[in-house]
């Protein structure tokens, strides 16, 4: 009985992992104008996404200068800020996205090499 259950749960767990590998990512990057920091951030996040989430991500770059109302709505204080809208939970990343490891961890992406 016990064995059966654990077997089942392992199976389910694997299923979830499989599902997460296929999950779609919705990311929003808020930048303040085209400063060097903004550019670095955009480049970095694009690189990460292309490398790890190819084909299953949506990245939107928003200039908060142009949309200040969004800054209020999304509780943006620092720039650049990356918000992971999906999958849940919501997460925020601030900075120029140079710390790839932290981003991957936060985005809940397992690096293929680990597998």
């Amino acid at each position: 009985m016990k064995k059966k259950k654990s077997y089942n749960s392992i199976k389910e767990f694997e299923k979830v992992i499989q599902k997460s590998m296929e999950e779609k990512y919705v990311l929003k990057l808020y930048v303040s104008g085209l400063t060097s920091a903004s550019k670095i951030a955009i480049e970095n996040i694009k690189m990460i996404c292309e490398e790890h989430l190819k084909g299953r991500y949506e990245l939107e770059v928003i200039d908060i200068y142009k949309m200040p109302v969004l800054a209020k709505g999304e509780q943006i204080v620092a720039a650049p800020t990356l918000i992971k809208k999906l999958p849940l939970p919501l997460r925020k990343f601030i900075g120029n996205m140079t710390n790839t490891e932290k981003i991957l961890l936060g985005l809940d992406i397992r690096i293929i090499g680990d597998k």
């Binding site: 204080v77 919501l90 990343f93 932290k102």
Partner: protein, 616 residues
């Protein structure tokens, strides 16, 4: 209100040149509208500059900042932005609603924007360099959207807990304050109190160095007092003291200790004390209007009653009176007043009399002052009774109480209010000295005391001082009757003053002596009368004796005359018979003489009778 001290016109014309020059250089200020704050900062906060307000939790930073915004929006038409890090708009609106500020309404009218910035550290990953441009943009957007002139950031230190890189934060904050100056907005930044030697936890004062205000909340003897101090105010004069302040139902209230000048108006108008004979003692007319009166005395000497007389009389004239009681409840005062024939109820119903009863220990000294101030503004009484002022000593050191009372009396005087304070002197103390040492502030000082003499206590009253009027120097005895205070007649006989039973005894004694004297006189008079009657009786007796004697004599005379006639007749008969004629003539002459003598004695008798009749 007459509180505002107008600058004298004659000073305006002379230093005109100076006044013209000054505004160009000097700091422009923005009035906050906060009660008392603009007085101690001489105009308000520095215009277009950030001000740091720091203090520990719960000392009123947020409220000060909020009131600055709200009053700016309402009174000075300067819209404001409130950047809140700690509370959201809803909470803030709720918090200040108790002070009568309708934040939602102001937000709807686009006068105030509350922007709640929420930073949850657990949600945020720091992945390299960043700046706080997001904050700047939000702030700018908010300022632009309503044309804000005032900005509040409360409490910026939350950022330090939200972001882990202090170097970036410090650089960004420096930029923020510079940026705020560039925007030309007058800003208040609040900060948490730091440890030893620093005003704020993260040394914010380094950035906002133009004006720093520290709020404090201290508890001494279980009574808390809030204090405000301007640590620094570049380019401006400012009060340097610690100013006690209060947060009450209408917001902040700061009471400058030293700002009140001694330039209250003086008037010749007089006010009855409510006791006619006391008026007489005070130059015949009573107190001066707008003066301060102290009634001091030991327990149970009738201080309150004297105050009630004044109140009753003023209410009868239709004047408003404010009674600040701290020892008796309203109902008790009313009841006790009835027992001396003073009915206060109609005055309360007519809203001429207002009782403010509170234990002094319930609030701090400052609260007392502020309560009085707000009551003065609301009720506008012409007479205020503080019964007693000595109750205040329980909530502060004598120095504090004195300074508070000084301000209190100053506030009252500048409002042209006649103030009567009662002061309880404890037995054994010098009665010509009050516990709270305010006598120098008092214009008229009436001392009521017990005179203990010969096994009884009587109440005595005298005017210790009364500025600007001739006043009686007598100690007058008074009685508390069911018609109120009755000053008794002064006993002036025998060159001494007697009171109470001794006076009564003396009076009775004199009465008795007087009566005895009168009786003696009566007795003498009666004796005289008796003597007179006795004498008269004797006279009558003698008279009657005489009369009977006279009658007898007359009878005898008649007999003799008849005998004589008979003799003459006999003689003539004999002469005829003997033919003799000459001798008869001689005898007739003798008869005539005798008749004259008899007439004379008759006349004498008549006059005597007449005299006795007159006497009767």
């Amino acid at each position: 209100m007459r509180k505002k001290i107008k600058t004298k016109p004659q000073f305006k014309s002379k230093p005109k040149q100076k006044i013209k020059k000054v505004p160009d250089v000097s700091l422009l200020k923005v009035p906050t509208g906060i009660n008392g704050f603009d007085e101690i900062t001489i105009g308000g906060l520095p215009k277009g500059r950030p001000t740091l307000v720091c203090g520990s939790a719960g000392c009123g930073k947020t409220l000060l900042a909020m009131e600055f915004l709200v009053r700016g929006a309402i009174q000075f038409h300067e819209p404001g932005v409130f950047i809140a890090f700690e509370e959201n708009a809803e909470e803030l609106a709720q918090n200040v609603a108790s002070l009568g500020f309708d934040l939602d309404d102001l937000a709807r009218k686009k006068k105030i924007i509350v922007d709640y910035i929420f930073i949850e550290r657990s949600e945020i990953e720091e992945t390299g360099d960043y700046d706080l441009e997001g904050l700047f943009i939000r702030l700018k957007h908010a300022i632009k959207s309503i044309g804000a002139k005032r900005v509040v950031i409360d409490t910026i230190e939350v950022l330090f807990s939200g972001f882990s890189n202090p170097h970036i934060l410090r650089a960004e904050l420096r930029r923020l304050f510079r940026w705020l100056k560039e925007q030309g907005v007058t800003a208040i930044i609040t900060g948490e109190k730091g440890g030893e030697g620093t005003l704020t936890r993260y040394g914010l004062e380094e950035y906002v160095a133009d004006c720093v205000i520290v709020l404090d909340h201290r508890i001494t003897d279980q009574i808390s007092t809030r204090r405000l101090r301007i640590v620094k105010y570049r380019g401006s004069l400012h009060g340097t003291n610690e100013y006690p302040f209060l947060i009450k139902d209408s917001g902040f209230s700061i009471l400058p200790i030293t700002s009140v000048g001694l330039n209250h108006k003086a008037t010749d108008e007089r006010l009855s004390t409510g006791v006619p004979r006391l008026d007489v003692m005070l130059g015949g007319k009573g107190y001066y209007r707008g003066s301060s009166i102290l009634v001091s005395g030991t327990a149970g000497t009738g201080k309150t009653i004297l105050a009630l007389h004044l109140v009753n009389d003023a209410c009868r004239r239709g004047e408003r009176c404010l009674y600040l009681a701290s020892e008796e409840s309203t109902a008790q005062i009313i009841r006790n007043a009835k027992s001396i024939g003073i009915n206060l109820e109609p005055w309360i119903q007519k809203k001429l009399l207002y009782f403010n009863v509170s234990r002094p220990t319930y609030t701090g000294l400052e609260m007392q002052l502020v309560t009085l101030d707000s009551l003065l503004k609301k009720f506008r009484p012409s007479i205020v009774v503080i019964d007693p002022i000595t109750g205040l000593t329980s909530i502060g050191s004598s120095e504090e109480v004195k300074s508070m009372l000084m301000r209190m009396i100053d506030i009252l005087k500048s409002n042209y209010v006649t103030t009567l304070c009662t002061s309880l002197t404890h037995g054994g103390n010098n009665i010509e000295q009050t516990e709270v040492a305010v006598t120098s502030l008092i214009d008229t000082w009436i001392l009521v005391r017990e005179i203990e003499h010969n096994g009884e206590r009587t109440r005595g009253l005298y005017v210790l001082k009364s500025r600007g009027m001739p006043h009686s120097n007598q100690i007058r005895e008074f009685l508390i009757t069911n018609k109120g205070i009755d000053l008794t007649d002064v006993y002036v006989g025998q060159g001494m003053v007697l009171t109470g039973a001794a006076r009564k005894v003396q009076e009775l004694k004199e009465k008795a002596a007087f009566r005895a004297g009168r009786d003696k006189m009566e007795r003498i008079k009666r004796e005289l009368e008796r003597r007179r009657l006795l004498m008269e009786a004797k006279i009558n007796e003698i008279h009657a004796e005489y009369e009977s004697l006279e009658e007898e004599m007359h009878e005898k005379l008649k007999v003799h005359e008849a005998q004589e006639k008979a003799l003459v007749l006999d003689k003539s008969v004999i002469a005829q018979m003997r033919k003799a004629d000459h001798k008869i003539d001689q005898d007739q002459d003798q008869d005539q003489d005798q008749g004259q003598g008899q007439d004379k004695s008759n006349a004498d008798k008549n006059s005597k009778i007449k005299a006795s009749e007159v006497k009767k």
